[in-house]
Amino acid sequence: MSTIETSTEPAKAPTVPPAPNRIKGIASQLLGTPRVIIGLGLLALLTLLAFVGPLVSGWEVGERDYAALFASPSADHWMGTNKTGQDVWTQSTAGLQKSLLIGLLVALLSTGIAALVGAFAGYFGGITDRALMWIADLALVLPSFVILAILAEQFGGEGGWIVLVLLLAMFSWMVTSKMIRGMTISLREREYIHAARFMGVPSHKIILRHILPNMSSLLIADATIAVSTAIIGETSLSYFGFGVQPPDISLGVVIADGSKYANSDWWIFAFPTVLLVILVLAVNMIGDGLRDALDPQSKSRRS
């Protein structure tokens, strides 16, 4: 601002403060919330654990210690071993790598698709609405589990988990999108949307700038829930052998394996489950903080 000549009001120019930066404001608001800091810290720790964990344990992923089947935690096996003598620590932390990626990516993708489809359908109505909702209905009635199972096997092998992410996201956006469509229809008649239209803002910008931000609470809540749903969804697929295929391993696979021994040999089950709980908790904390930071009406916000 100060670098530009303001010939109309030269005297006033120096007193005019610079334009407030909204993103900066939200970021500083976010970083000022302890919950977000803790959440981000936990997430960083988990990521670190996922990549460093398998390296420091002294055991390879999938390596079997035939001398120690069902061994309880010891100096050798920090979190014990499972029925085939695999080190639980190594397996879990290695599994965490994939689960982190799958959980976060699926959540982002499915909420993103839901938001766009729902908002466009609700905003435009008519043919767009019918077509998009027809697709959503179709995706709802298709037996997603079977399709997932078949396709996941087809695309198995190296990089197969990316296909799995896409497939999981493909089958988890429909219900949210219907909810968003309903909210869009009610938001569409708000006067600030009319105002934006009458000043000539193009429709896609209205959706991105006015409609979706006003649903951010719902979107964030949906995304945080989707993280755990995706990880669990992947688990159930893996349980049947359709999800992450060996040699890849995921937290879901490890938990599914350990769940049978939860009563007799608890450590096989407990450690990967604790990791999952911490992951979901961290994501929830970040989501919570984000929601508060974006909501100008929330109590914690004071400018």
Binding site: A19, G25, G200, P296
Partner: protein, 732 residues
């Protein structure tokens, strides 16, 4: 009235002489406890009043002044977390602190209430008649169902519901808002109560319906002899309807007296400001309205002194020392006494009972009375410059907007899968008008007359279903997309509801910058322009980073105006810009609009249902009824000599905030409700409610029912009327 009811009224009439007020409220305070560390809200702080039989007491105040809460407290309708102290006596018997069951025997029988919102006052799943009969039965367990039913039918008849026998079985959704409010009043009258509390009974209704309801309330008072406590913010309603009034501000009564005393001799700067802030429909050239600066204080953190002191133009240092008590004019302690009391650490706080003389809570009331100051003397009135274009003759000025036989019909469809058309809503059915440079055209009419639809059609810049819209001489239907986009620079809109017209997720800066960014205003200049606009509408630079929820209604409306002005439009469309605002705030916004028009040479298309504001701001006025313009002309001619019966009725229905004039007027009260725009009457659309139609001879009536009248010039000048039997006459 059934035998039981008479017996019951006689039983309760063992009152100790007629001297005892029916309802006496003394030093009532209501505090809402704050939860989760929020501060307490002191909603009502020491209200005292008394009403005698047949008397109407008006409680006036802006939103948040505690007027509704105080009456809800008297009725015992507040939630448990409200802490209520003081005393409420009904026929000399203390009712504050009675438990809910005991209160229930009095509510609806001795004291009853009419609420503001007739839409939510009735249960949707029971018929209207059954709900009325229930109100009768609850207090007369001995009455049979048949008797209750008879009484309900009689009540429906009394409140003017046509065909009461048949309508007994109607459900609430089959009634219009005005009819539902009638049912609510019938319910309040059902057991001949001694006090009826009316909480803004007409605020949600159109003016012609408001006139009907006020008439009905007068009947109710005569019929039951009840005292009425009328809570309202409308100073016009108060002038004609009440005997004595109480003005509330920040939870406290600040002035009390008879209507005439207060309207012609107010001694409290707040009341004076309020009266000066009301646009007057009956005055030719009123000049600028009196704006009261600032906003009412928050009820959680009140300043120690007079709560109005921060906004008062004649406040003195002593005003902020201690809160003045409600005392007779000139009876306030002197400044020296206040200072002494303040130093000694004592404060007054003597609670004076309602003695009936005018009392004021202002330190300078004596001074005001001595000098006979009026609002114009104590408030700084802004100078509003003349519109430069006004010097040029209207015909020679550039045309900003022309609408020709504009039509908008909505199809009515039935069925989910196979939609079939079952009818048409004639929302806008062929209207013509034009707006010249620097001119304000007001479009007025009741809700449902199609004025908002007209706006949306104009702002949409699409090809209309029928007719044409030209902006600055260019027809919108022949424009390309980029032309249309460019044209949007020149016409902007300000909306009615300051709550929903601003995106709650955007800071004010981004809201005002949005039109600039959309039209590729250089980013470097945007910042300066936004601050310039903030200043133009009277906001501060530091407001830019805040969000809409942090502003009051008036401030939000200013933000909306700033956004509309960002691109320097030539035509501003105002969709009821002040109807959601309090009177004192409204005056500021109206002044701002007038000033902006003069400074920037804007043309306004002003849509409103409030005819007083229109008289104040508009140069020309078009009256709409059921999708048609029935009368159009320059404001002065239309207001002084309206020619169409509807315009006459509309103008006549509006109460004037002047008790003497108001009492002397006879209102033309229209029958019934607005017909459905899906099924308008044949011929003249107004004939079903027309007060003139009934006086005509049969062949003349025939003409009204068969031939639709066209707009024709009535006085050889600008005024035109769509009536076969137009006759200009004054109704003010």
């Amino acid at each position: 009235m059934s035998a039981q009811t008479i017996e019951n009224t006689e039983a309760t009439s063992e009152r100790p002489g007629d001297e005892t007020p029916v309802l006496e409220v003394r030093d009532l305070t209501v505090t809402f406890r704050g939860f989760n560390g929020n501060p307490d809200v002191n909603a009502v702080r020491g209200v005292s009043y008394s009403v005698r039989r047949g008397e109407v007491l008006g409680i006036v105040g802006e939103s948040g002044s505690g007027k509704s809460v105080s009456s809800m407290a008297a009725m015992g309708l507040l939630p448990d977390h409200a802490v209520i102290t003081g005393s409420v006596k009904l026929h000399g018997e203390e009712i504050l602190g009675l438990d809910d069951r005991e209160m229930a025997t009095r509510r609806g029988k001795v004291i009853s209430m009419v609420f503001q919102d007739p839409l939510s006052g009735l249960t949707p799943v029971y018929t209207v008649g059954d709900q009325l009969a229930e109100a009768v039965l609850v207090h007369n367990p001995k009455a049979t169902k048949e008797e209750a039913r008879e009484r309900a039918v009689r009540l429906l008849d009394l409140v003017g519901i046509p065909n009461p026998e048949g309508r007994y079985r109607s459900f609430p959704h089959e009634f219009s808002g005005g009819m539902r409010q009638r049912v609510m009043i019938a319910m309040a009258m059902a057991n001949d109560p001694d006090v009826i509390i009316c909480d803004e009974p007409t605020t949600a209704l159109d003016v012609t319906i408001q006139a009907q309801i006020l008439d009905l309330l007068r009947t109710a008072r005569e019929e039951t002899g009840a005292a009425i406590v009328m809570i309202t913010h409308d100073l016009g309603v108060v002038a004609g309807f009440v005997d004595r009034m109480l003005v509330m501000y920040a939870g406290r009564p600040v002035e009390m007296g008879t209507v005439d005393e207060i309207y012609y001799g107010s001694r409290m700067p707040y009341t004076m400001g309020l009266l000066g802030a009301v646009p007057r429909m009956d005055l030719e050239r009123q000049g600028a309205l009196v704006p009261i600066k600032g906003t009412p204080p928050s009820l959680t953190a009140l300043p120690p002194g007079c709560p109005f002191a921060p906004r008062c133009p004649i406040a003195e240092p002593e005003c902020s020392l201690a809160e003045p008590d409600l005392l007779p004019v000139g009876g306030q302690p002197s400044k020296a006494q206040i200072r002494a009391a303040q130093e000694a650490g004592t404060s007054g706080g003597a609670v004076a009972a309602d003695t009936g003389v005018q009392r004021v809570a202002c330190l300078r009331s004596g001074e005001i009375a001595e000098n006979a100051w009026t609002a114009q003397d104590i408030y700084p009135i802004p100078e509003i410059p003349e519109v430069p274009a006004a010097k040029v003759r209207r015909e020679d000025r550039a045309e900003m907007l022309r609408v020709e036989s504009l039509i908008k019909h909505h199809p009515l469809t039935k069925g989910a899968v196979f939609k079939r058309r079952v009818g048409t809503v004639y929302a806008v059915d062929g209207i013509d008008f034009d707006i010249r440079e620097g001119e304000t055209l007001a479009l007025v009419g009741e809700s449902g007359c199609g004025k908002s639809t007209t706006l949306m059609e104009i702002m949409g810049l699409e090809k209309p279903q029928g007719g044409s819209v030209s902006v600055m001489g260019r027809e919108t239907s022949k424009m390309s997309g980029s032309d249309r986009f460019a044209l949007r620079r020149d016409m902007q809109i300000v909306f009615q509801d300051p709550m929903s017209s601003l995106d709650p997720r955007m800071p004010v800066f981004d809201i005002i910058a949005e039109p600039l960014r959309t039209h590729r205003y250089p980013e470097a200049d945007t910042t300066a322009r936004v601050y310039e606009l903030l200043e133009l509408v009277g906001l501060n630079v530091e407001h830019a980073t805040r969000y809409p929820s942090e502003f009051s209604g008036g401030q939000r409306q200013r933000i909306g105006i700033a956004r509309a002005l960002a691109l320097e439009p030539k035509l501003l469309v105002l969709d009821e810009p002040v109807s959601a605002l309090d009177v004192s705030i409204q005056a500021g916004v109206v002044n701002l609009l007038e000033e902006l028009q003069a400074r920037l040479g804007l043309s306004y298309l002003f849509v409103a249902h409030d005819l007083s504001v229109v008289r104040h701001i508009a140069d020309r006025v078009a009256v709409m009824y059921l999708g048609r313009i029935v009368e159009i002309g320059d404001t002065d001619s239309v207001y002084t000599r309206p020619a169409h019966p509807y315009t006459q009725a509309l103008l006549s229905a509006i109460p004037i905030p002047d008790p003497e004039k108001e009492r002397a007027r006879t209102h033309i009260v229209l029958d019934g409700d607005l017909p459905s725009p899906a099924n308008p009457p044949s011929g003249c659309r107004f004939r079903t409610r027309c007060q003139k139609f009934v006086t005509l001879s049969a062949p003349e009536q025939e003409r009204c029912t068969s031939v639709e009248p066209a707009l024709e010039a009535t006085n050889g000048g600008d005024q035109a009327t769509a009536c076969h039997f137009a006759e200009r006459q004054s109704v003010l």
